[in-house]
C-alpha cells in the first residue's frame, strides 16, 4: 500500500549538508498498522512527512496505492493527498471552526454539498464518540477529544492510508490508550492502512503488527513486532525494548551493593528473558535443582506477538557454588544473566 524506495533527504544548514534520511526502504502492506520508532532527531518525523510529500525527498520514490507521488504535478498531488489522511502531535484543528465544521473541512474542500457533509460528519462523530460535542469549539475540548476530532477529520475523505505523526505524544497514558484503541478499531472496521511514528515503544507494542527502528536517519531494523521483541539484532532495538521495561536497582540496595563476594553475601542478578530463552518454568526449576532460594526484587515480564520477554531483578540465596551452578544453568537455557553485585 505504501512503498518507500531509496528515499534520501538532505537539509542544508548554510553550507553544511545534513542527511536527515539515508536510503530508506519500506514496504507497508494493505491493512496493517506499521510503526516507525526512533528517538527525537532520528528522522522519523521527516520520514512520515515524506510519505505525503509535505517534505519532498531529495531522491527516491514514494508509492502510495500504486501511484508514485514524486512524479505528480502539484495539482495532481493535491487531489491524491485527499486519499491520505494525517493526524498530528498538536492536533492542528482550526480554532475558528466548530468540531462539526472541522471534520467537514476536507469534504468542503472537495466541493461536497451541505446535506452530504452533514450525513458523513454525523457518522464520523459517532465513530469517534463525540456526537455531543458537534457544536463545541476545539478550545473547549481536552487533548484526547481534540485528537478524536482530528482522526474523524482525517477519515472524512475516506482515505486508504492514515499517517500518524506522534499522535499520542502530547497525551497522558490513559488517553493514549483510548486513542490507540480507536486507531485499532478503525484499522479493523475500515481496513485502513496505518503508518505511525512514535518514540514510545509502548505504542508500538500496543497496536502495531510491524515495526521499523530508525536511528540517525537510517533504518536499522524492521520486521514483525513479535520478532523484533524476541530477537532484537541491534543495540538500538534492544534499548527501545528495555525502555518499555525499565528496571532499576532500588536506592537502598544500590548503597549496600558490593562488587566482590564476601562471606554471607548473596548475588543480585539481572535476568533478561528474550524470545530465544527456553520456554520453561525456569525459576522454580533452578530453585529445586540447586537448592537455592530466589527472592524476586522486581520483575517486568511481557507477552508480545507470541513471545515472553522481560527483565527480572533477583537475589539468589544459597551456597556460593550452588548460585554459580544456577547461573550456568540459566545461561544454558538462553537467559541473559548479569551479576550486578553482592548484597550482604
Amino acid at each position: 500500500m505504501i512503498e518507500i524506495r531509496n528515499v534520501n533527504k538532505v537539509f542544508y544548514q548554510g553550507e553544511r549538508a545534513i542527511n536527515a534520511l539515508s536510503d530508506i526502504n519500506l514496504n507497508i502492506t494493505q491493512g496493517c498498522i506499521y510503526g516507525v520508532i526512533g528517538s527525537s532527531g532520528a528522522g522519523k518525523s521527516t520520514l512520515i512527512r515524506c510519505v505525503n510529500l509535505l517534505e519532498r525527498p531529495s531522491s527516491g520514490n514514494i508509492i502510495v496505492d500504486g501511484i508514485d507521488l514524486t512524479l505528480l504535478s502539484n495539482q495532481e498531488l493535491t487531489l491524491t493527498r485527499r486519499k491520505i489522511g494525517m493526524i498530528f502531535q498538536h492536533f492542528n484543528l482550526l480554532s475558528s471552526r466548530t468540531v462539526f465544521d472541522n471534520i467537514g473541512l476536507p469534504l468542503e474542500l472537495a466541493g461536497m454539498n451541505k446535506k452530504a457533509i452533514k450525513l458523513k460528519v454525523d457518522g464520523l462523530l459517532e465513530l469517534v464518540g463525540l456526537s455531543d460535542k458537534s457544536d463545541s469549539y476545539p478550545a473547549n475540548l481536552s487533548g484526547g477529544q481534540k485528537q478524536r476530532v482530528a482522526i474523524a477529520r482525517a477519515l472524512a475523505s475516506d482515505p486508504k492510508v492514515l499517517l500518524c505523526d506522534e499522535a499520542t505524544s502530547a497525551l497522558d497514558p490513559a488517553t493514549t490508550l483510548s486513542i490507540l484503541e480507536l486507531l485499532r478499531k478503525i484499522n479493523q472496521e475500515l481496513n485502513l492502512t496505518i503508518l505511525l511514528i512514535t518514540h514510545e515503544m509502548a505504542v508500538v507494542k500496543g497496536i502495531c503488527s510491524e515495526v521499523a527502528i530508525i536511528g540517525d536517519g537510517k533504518l536499522v531494523e524492521q520486521g514483525r513486532v513479535g520478532d523484533i521483541f524476541a530477537h532484537p539484532k541491534t543495540a538500538l532495538a534492544r534499548q527501545f525494548i528495555r525502555s518499555t521495561l525499565d528496571l532499576s536497582i532500588p536506592e537502598d540496595y544500590r548503597s549496600r551493593l558490593l562488587t566482590e563476594h564476601v562471606d554471607n553475601s548473596y548475588p543480585l542478578i539481572r535476568l533478561e528473558f528474550t524470545g530465544a530463552s527456553v520456554d520453561a518454568p525456569l525459576i522454580s526449576q533452578v530453585a529445586r535443582e540447586f537448592n537455592i532460594d530466589i527472592s524476586i526484587l522486581s520483575s517486568n515480564m511481557d507477552y508480545v506477538g507470541g513471545v515472553k520477554f522481560g527483565l527480572m531483578l533477583a537475589e539468589f540465596f544459597g551456597a556460593e557454588d550452588a548460585a554459580q551452578q544456577a547461573i550456568a544453568f540459566l545461561k544454558e537455557h538462553k537467559v541473559e544473566i548479569e551479576v550486578l553485585g553482592y548484597v550482604a
Binding site: 485527499r82 498530528f88 492542528n92 482550526l94 474542500l109 482525517a154
Partner: protein
C-alpha cells in the same frame, strides 16, 4: 471651562452646531470610505506579503522584497507630505484636488500599506501546523487562504481594522489642508486660528467619543469571533 459653559454655548450657537454636524459627517465619510477602500487593497497585499515570504505557501523572494520596499516607502512618508505630494494623482482620480472626496484619496493611499503590515502580522499568528494540515488534506492554495488563513486570522484582522480606523481619525484632521473639512479642520480653524477654545474642546470631545465607539465595537467583534 465647565460643562455648564459648553451647554450655554451650545444654546447660543446654532450655526456652529450645524457646522460641527457637517464636520462630523465629513470625518466619518473620510474615515470609513478610506478605511473601506484601504482594506479592499490592503488585505490582499498583506496576504501576498505573508505568502511570498521564505518558506511561505507561494514563496517568491523577489516579489516579497519588492512589495516590502513599496510598503515601507508608503509607511515612511509623513501623511501631511503625502497629502500634498499626490495632488496630481488625486486630481486624476476624483477630478479635483480639494474637498472631502479629494481627501479620501491620500487617506486611502496612506491606509493601504499600514493595513497590509497589520494583516501580515495577523496572518503570522496563524500556527504553521494548520496550513500544513490543510495541505495534507488536499487543499488548493486558494482554499488554504480562504478557508484556513483568513478565518483563523480574523480576530487579528478585525483588530487591524480597528487600529486603522482610529489612526485614520487622526489623519483626517490633517485633511483640512486640502479643504477636506472634518472635525479636526474645524478644531484647528476655530480653536487654533481664532482662539476659540470652546469649539476646539468640543471637536476634541467628539473625536474622543468617536474613537471610543470604534474601539469598543472592534473589541466586541474580536471577542465574538475569537474561539482560540
Amino acid at each position: 471651562m465647565s460643562l455648564d459653559s459648553i451647554f450655554s454655548w451650545w444654546g447660543n450657537n446654532e450655526r456652529l452646531i450645524a457646522l460641527l454636524v457637517d464636520a462630523l459627517g465629513q470625518t466619518l465619510a473620510m474615515v470609513f470610505a478610506s478605511g473601506f477602500i484601504g482594506f479592499i487593497f490592503g488585505i490582499p497585499l498583506g496576504v501576498l506579503l505573508h505568502l511570498s515570504k521564505k518558506s511561505g505557501l507561494l514563496e517568491n523572494h523577489a516579489l516579497n522584497k519588492t512589495l516590502g520596499i513599496v510598503v515601507n516607502i508608503g509607511r515612511s512618508i509623513p501623511f501631511i507630505i503625502l497629502l500634498v505630494a499626490i495632488i496630481p494623482f488625486t486630481r486624476f482620480i476624483v477630478g479635483s484636488s480639494i474637498g472631502t472626496a479629494a481627501a479620501i484619496v491620500p487617506l486611502t493611499i496612506a491606509a493601504i500599506p499600514f493595513i497590509a503590515r497589520l494583516v501580515e502580522g495577523a496572518l503570522l499568528e496563524v500556527p504553521s501546523g494548520l496550513v500544513e494540515a490543510a495541505q495534507a488534506m488536499g487543499a488548493k492554495p486558494r482554499q488554504i487562504i480562504t478557508k484556513v488563513l483568513l478565518p483563523e486570522a480574523l480576530p487579528g484582522i478585525i483588530n487591524a481594522v480597528t487600529i486603522t480606523l482610529v489612526t485614520l481619525v487622526g489623519y483626517s484632521a490633517m485633511a483640512g489642508t486640502v479643504g477636506g473639512g472634518g472635525l479636526g479642520d474645524v478644531g484647528i480653524r476655530y480653536g487654533y486660528q481664532r482662539f476659540d477654545g470652546t469649539v476646539m474642546m468640543i471637536t476634541v470631545v467628539i473625536l474622543v467619543i468617536e474613537t471610543e465607539i470604534i474601539q469598543s465595537v472592534g473589541d466586541h467583534l474580536v471577542k465574538h469571533v475569537d474561539h482560540r
